[in-house]
Symmetry: C2
Subunit: 319 residues, 2 copies
């Protein structure tokens, strides 16, 4: 059932013990929203755990509470009053929800999240980040905005808006961030931590950037990393940003080996709806930032993607 924000807050207030979870491949918003909500609920004296079924980006380790985020354990059996799924639909949480007996509350800002009959949800696709919804939610919770809440909230806002550069950034986002700075958040501390890269990664990125391929008459460009190329590169976070800045490029992608015959794809756009391209491969996301996984050979994945993107750009042109 679609709830109002007030009703969602009431569900949270009514619960004494809660588990929070978020999507696999967690980003600053998934982790930030979880940590912020956990800090708020702890301030209210509630028992709260965060369980996420994936490695966490190391750049987020400056966030208070980061070390207390758990991974699901094999055969876990947990009884709590409420299970809160943040920044995604429940089916993108890996094994985090396994063995947890609790009603589900789903809070998300992804337009592609249509909710479901069997769970309570609050989805607002107009919000830049789930962290922005968390910020609005605070209005309905009797908590003080402390640095422990503000730092992860700020991080969620900052990462989902590309540090306030993307089109989803609104005056509300900027003013929310202003509040966070007033609570002692240091933007340079967050940005330096998020952006810090080992020397080897910087050099590795520089190497693969030289392999950027342009297609669709230069309106799209991508980096395609097979198993070997992927294994030689420590990370790929933010790599797609280096493709995105190329003049004339509307759709930027990074396709990388994730396991045998499975390639994880990040799509970024300046106009074309890449969430539709991602959805056609079983993924999802936003109009200008989406992701999907292609389960096929490297060559097939590459050509399928290029074909789909070229077609999307052409139909855009005709529209």
């Amino acid at each position: 059932m679609m709830l109002s924000l007030k009703e969602a807050a009431d569900r949270l207030l009514a619960a004494k013990s809660l588990i929070l979870t978020a999507h696999v491949h967690p980003d600053g918003d998934a982790v930030g929203s979880s940590l912020a909500l956990a800090a708020a609920l702890k301030q209210l004296g509630k028992s709260v755990r965060i369980i996420i079924d994936d490695d966490l980006p190391s750049g987020l380790k400056v966030l208070p509470g980061f070390d207390r985020i758990e991974r699901p354990t094999e055969g876990q059996s947990i009884q709590v009053d409420l299970l809160v799924v943040l920044d995604t639909e429940p089916d993108r949480t890996g094994n985090a929800m396994q063995g947890i007996t609790a009603p589900v509350l789903n809070i998300d800002h992804h337009v592609t999240n249509e909710g479901a009959d069997n769970l309570d949800f609050y989805v607002d696709g107009d919000r830049a980040a789930t962290a922005e919804i968390m910020y609005q939610l605070l209005e309905f919770l009797p908590v003080t905005l402390t640095r422990d809440i503000a730092m992860p909230l700020y991080t969620g806002l900052a990462t989902d808006t590309g540090f306030f550069r993307f089109s989803n950034t609104t005056p509300f986002t900027m003013r929310a961030a202003a509040k966070m700075l007033e609570c002692g958040v240091k933007p340079n501390e967050i940005s330096e931590s998020l952006e810090a890269r080992p020397y080897e990664e910087v050099i590795g990125y520089a190497k693969v950037i030289q392999t950027i391929e342009r297609f669709a008459d230069g309106h799209a460009a991508g980096i395609f990393l097979d198993k070997e190329a992927r294994e030689n590169l420590p990370g790929t976070d933010g790599l797609v940003g280096s493709v995105r800045v190329i003049e004339g490029v509307d759709v930027a992608i990074v396709m990388k080996w994730s396991e045998d015959n499975a390639y994880r794809v990040s799509l970024r756009s300046k106009g074309v709806d890449v969430s539709r391209i991602a959805a056609s491969f079983g993924g999802g996301g936003h109009v200008r930032a989406a992701g999907c996984t292609l389960r096929m050979s490297f060559a097939d994945a590459k050509s399928s993607l290029q074909t789909a993107i070229t077609a999307a750009l052409q139909s855009e042109e005709q529209a």
Copy 2:
């Protein structure tokens, strides 16, 4: 004479004809502050020209009025009521002020600008950008904040704060930017324009990034471009950012050939005061972002810089 902001506004209001200028190597704040003030003064019916003695970054071409910015002409002779020098001391304006007969009003946010007895000045080193001072100034001018004013103001704020990531970003900065978004500024339009790089430049950057040298026990790193390397690279804007993100690096630099036996240096820091290092070579700037030009051979410039930076890092450590 140091003026109050109100007095600075009164000087502007009293003038009927004005020339605005800013520093050579103009950035988003120099150009943005000039365009914003020009748009405000034009709204008040004044005759305003902007004269800057340098090429302008092409990423700023989306700003309204960009095409009307002039360069000084040989032997120019101009009589106006007021000459406004923005975002720098008057001696860093190249030949822009030559042949202009007018009292000078200097408005700047660089702490290193100490003003002078023979001119009226308003300097506030606590402001993130001169554009932020322009925004405060609007309170004393009977103008409406239009998109023509808001776009360049936003650009000045965004560029001098590294898109709201640097330590100079305050709640005031964020709320000022929120106002600009309300006036129709699109953050993605500005950021995409500022960040757009020709394919050749992206590839060129990737090549020179592989030449990054670490020194001072890994606390500093730099790219050193001699004449040939510089000439093979279309631009160097933002290149220092790629050095800055390396883990453990406090001081990041790009040193590039600018003319025979002259090397232009950009310094960025996460802690050490690089404005002092820049000042020791006759340059200036901020604690965390500064610049200077070294007039010597490539080898001497490189070793002088490395020595000065290593010494600054060591004295920091001891402090």
